[in-house]
């Protein structure tokens, strides 16, 4: 979906730390300072959730906390707005499948 802008030495690993995380169990890497949503987009993730109303796939829309389409499960807690959460080392991010599920750890 997204890729690093061209000729950007920072994104080519020059100064920013690389973070390891997983999305639905798949290992991915991201840049320290990026949000969860940006990291998913940069890794080619197309849809991050399915809606509770109709199970329709959705992806981040506004990236500024307004649309609530970037909802994902982060370290067991669901319905987190990925665009407002900075990526952290070892984060386990998962697709938000519809409604909040109680299998998730409590906040």
């Amino acid at each position: 979906m997204f890729r690093p802008m061209h000729n950007d030495p920072v994104r080519e690993g020059a100064t920013s730390a690389t973070l390891n995380f997983t999305f639905d169990g798949r290992p991915m890497t991201g840049r320290a300072g990026d949000t969860v949503a940006a990291s998913l987009l940069a890794n080619g993730v197309v849809a991050c959730r399915e809606t509770p109303v109709s199970d329709t796939p959705r992806a981040p829309y506004c990236l500024m906390g307004v649309c609530f389409d970037c909802l994902v499960v982060i370290d067991g807690v669901g319905n987190r707005q990925g665009c407002l959460v900075p990526l952290a080392e070892g984060m386990a991010i998962e697709t938000q499948h519809g409604r909040r599920h109680f299998a998730e750890a409590r906040a």
Partner: protein, 376 residues
């Protein structure tokens, strides 16, 4: 959106909430031509702030007839739901799985049990089954119950519905039956006239033989115009709604229920602050704290909405049903349990209104009771 000079309907219902909606539908189903006069988008609208219980177990302390009236409505609710499914193509998600009143201290439980016993003694015991539960029994029936719940009361008669779907279904079914619904039409004046009534709204006047006041708090102002009395006052309540979550709670609690949409509704509070409808955090916090103690898994859910609404409260909390003696044909229908009583309103009260005589079952709900010296 409507003609300036309307033809004379058989009945004018003042107020388009769930009370007015149920009455209007009932009148229309009985063959009447009905007009409903309603306010605009921003109005007190208790119907938009409803907790959606169809509740029986704790009703009627101090007035056995109210317990019977509530029971009757709960019994008829399935019928109302079926009618709305057919006539409005809307499933209002009614179920009667039995309801709980959960207690977070022994004191609370003792008080509730005591109140239930007094209620039990004053109304027909066989018609009002209930059980007193200790923690373990309650936990067995309600998975995920918090350890702080000391116990509770259960009644198989209690249920719930989606009150907003009810509200819409009443409007939809009425529309399909040709009820003339007029928004932005606050009633300024009702003048008894020639055996009928002239009802004045900002756009003009409408004449009718029957007028039914279902205007909630505004009934207090309107009632005297037609020789009726409705000493109702606002009682503020706040409600919290969470984001949608997987179904886990099939039974309603008195102060907590999961809707068919998946959100959890949490109430309830009662404050006498006049017409104040500002949502305030301390009450929200107390309600949230109790809810999380009842079901700890709720703690992690996000609050998506809160509201505060004004219950339409009579001096004793019971409905007021009356026909005017000085102006027969003018009726008043007011209560703060518009969802529970919707079945009665649509199926029993409305046809009676059309016939011109209120049923015996509601005789004790006349406002005349407020003039009788109270006795225990």
């Amino acid at each position: 959106m409507h003609s300036a000079i309307p033809s004379e309907p058989d009945a004018v219902v003042v107020g388009g909430g769930v009370v007015g909606g149920a009455i209007a539908l009932g009148l229309a189903r009985s063959g009447a031509r009905v007009a409903v006069l309603d306010e605009g988008d921003v109005a007190f609208r208790a119907s938009r702030g409803n907790f959606a219980l169809v509740w029986v177990q704790s009703k009627g302390l101090g007035m056995p007839d109210y317990a019977l009236w509530s029971r009757r409505s709960a019994d008829d609710w399935h019928q109302l739901a079926a009618i709305l499914a057919e006539e409005a193509d809307i499933d209002v998600a009614y179920s009667q799985p039995g309801g709980f009143m959960l207690c977070l201290s022994q004191d609370e439980l003792d008080q509730r049990v005591d109140a239930m016993r007094r209620l039990h003694n004053s109304r027909a015991p066989t018609n009002f089954p209930y059980e007193v539960l200790d923690h373990d029994e309650a936990a067995r029936r309600l998975p995920g119950l918090g350890k702080d719940v000391v116990g509770g009361l259960y009644s198989p008669l209690d249920g719930h519905a989606n009150s907003l779907k009810l509200f819409r279904a009443l409007r939809e079914a009425a529309a399909r039956r040709g009820v003339d619904y007029r928004p932005n039409s606050p009633v300024e004046r009702i003048v008894p006239h020639d055996g009928g009534f002239a009802v004045a709204a900002p756009w003009g006047e409408i004449r009718t033989a029957r007028v039914v006041l279902c205007a909630g708090l505004d009934n207090a102002r309107l009632a005297p115009m037609v020789g009726l009395e409705a000493p109702v006052k606002p009682s503020k309540g706040q409600v919290i709604v969470t984001e949608k979550t997987e179904p886990f709670l099939h039974n309603p609690m008195a102060t907590l229920r999961q809707t068919d949409e998946g959100g959890v509704m949490i109430g309830d509070s009662q404050e006498d602050l006049g017409f104040d409808t500002v949502v305030r955090q301390p009450v929200l916090s107390v309600m949230a704290e109790r809810a999380v103690r009842m079901f700890p898994r709720l703690g992690g859910l996000n609050v998506v909405r809160t509201w505060s609404a004004l219950r339409v409260m009579s001096p004793d909390g019971f409905p007021i049903y009356d026909q005017s003696q000085t102006s027969p044909g003018a009726f008043i229908v007011t209560c703060h349990s518009g969802v529970t009583l919707a079945a009665n309103h649509a199926l029993t009260l409305a046809p009676a209104i059309l016939s011109g005589t209120l049923p015996e079952a509601v005789a004790s709900f006349s406002a005349r009771r407020f003039h009788v010296p109270a006795h225990a």
